[in-house]
Chain length 232, copies 2
DNA sequence: AACAAATGTGGCAACAATGTGGCAATTACA
DNA sequence: TGTAATTGCCACATTGTTGCCACATTTGTT
């Protein structure tokens, strides 16, 4: 899938230079000289990544404003600031308002494209459903699919296979209620309802041996069970 | 929730300096001087973010090796390289093998923590979309089918299954009157008319405990009940 | 205003779902 | 082959939910 990158930068020379390089890398690039034209285009369709200059024509902080505006629309859109100013105040405030990266214009082009690739990589990696990635972290809970190991507060919990799958099924969608049928399916067992109760009992017991305040597996009367990440 | 950050850096002074600063920021920090000790700890439980130096004791490229090893385990774990070397080759190869950021040691500490916060922000933002799926929002009311939870004005309402289905049946078609028979059907119960009255009573009571002015469930004399979204 | 019908209220007993301990059957493993 | 671990299930205890009733109150009608 072709990635679209938008560059918002008022100096035409720089803008086109970057655009050309990125096009060669195989990206589809849109360029804008000011906030207004960028906004207009973004309102219709968002790109996959935005590169912003801070100062845009008349607007001294146009890039910041645009960044905030974009963050409002999408919390996930990767935003990179690319600017001549090299001072910490700008960097920190740029990152504060939701930028993902902050680079100065003296960086090399390979460096820039490496950063872009890293951002996309991260984006893709996190897009994978939790089931695929081998590691799932949920507060004090860490589940390693490949090794079938579960860790609670740095301590390994010694679960059996069935118990492991049940915890995994619950933790995969924290907060979502799973009824007994769904839990059976996710754990690859097909048993009596009461058996699910038994498994939950044993799982809780094992977690409680590590942390006596453990109560993340919440019973939802008449509905099933749910992993409650807010409780301790 | 407390975020855990691991720092792998062989120079004790630098290591502890960063660790202290991050601890003040409210992070839980683990420090390691070499690859071996870090690996050992990571095998048990991964932190939420790793800060790596490239050169580690004897190993000139220990950080790179460690980064690759970590990427194998988790594709999503945020990794930041923090190093004295300031050359593009290193930066680019660092990012290539899966680092998320590459910073030189001369950056200011506020800058570092801004970067860390930005990475965590991104992490959280991308985690969201999975959660938002089957939501029904009606002014101050939010119904989440998967979580089987009902929220009124930011506060969760603790309903039983039958009550949940009844609220759902009413809120599904706001303003539309449902008679007792329809409510029974929608809630998968078949009972006396008076029982529906009882359920409505209990539902109103629970909402009233949160908001004493609640009156969205309107009685339509002789007809049934209706969810009135205009009333408060 | 008087009346009947419909709805609201508090409470309680029946019931259903879940928790608990334990045991037998099965499986894994040395 | 014997032993330990795992698993499914049962009987019983405990808890939360539900349906309904008697009675109060409201509503609409004559």
């Amino acid at each position: 899938m072709l990635k679209r990158i938008a560059i918002v930068e008022d100096e035409a020379a720089i803008r086109e230079n970057y655009a050309d390089v990125l096009r060669v890398q195989g990206y589809q690039v849109q360029t804008f000289a000011n906030r207004e034209s960028a906004c207009k285009a973004f309102a219709i369709s968002l790109p996959h990544l935005v590169i912003l200059d801070i100062g845009l024509e008349q607007e001294y902080d146009g890039g910041f404003t645009l960044c905030q505006w974009l963050r409002n629309i999408s919390t996930t859109l990767p935003i990179i600031f690319l600017t001549a100013r090299d001072n910490d105040v700008d960097t920190v405030s740029g990152l504060r308002i939701g930028a993902d990266d902050y680079l100065t214009k003296d960086i090399s082009l390979p460096h820039l494209s490496a950063r872009i690739a890293a951002l996309f990589r991260r984006q893709e990696a996190l897009k994978q459903p939790t089931a695929e990635s081998s590691l799932l972290t949920l507060g004090p809970l860490t589940i390693d699919n490949q090794r079938m190991s579960i860790v609670w507060q740095q301590q390994s919990v010694d679960l059996t296979i069935t118990e492991f799958w049940m915890v995994f099924a619950l933790a995969k969608n924290p907060g979502h209620v799973k009824n007994r049928q769904q839990l059976m399916k996710d754990s690859n067992i097909y048993v009596d309802d009461s058996t699910i109760t038994s498994h939950v009992k044993r799982i809780r017991k094992k977690f409680n041996q590590i942390d006596k305040d453990f109560n993340c597996i919440e019973t939802v009367y008449g509905m099933g069970y749910r992993w409650n990440k807010d409780e301790k």
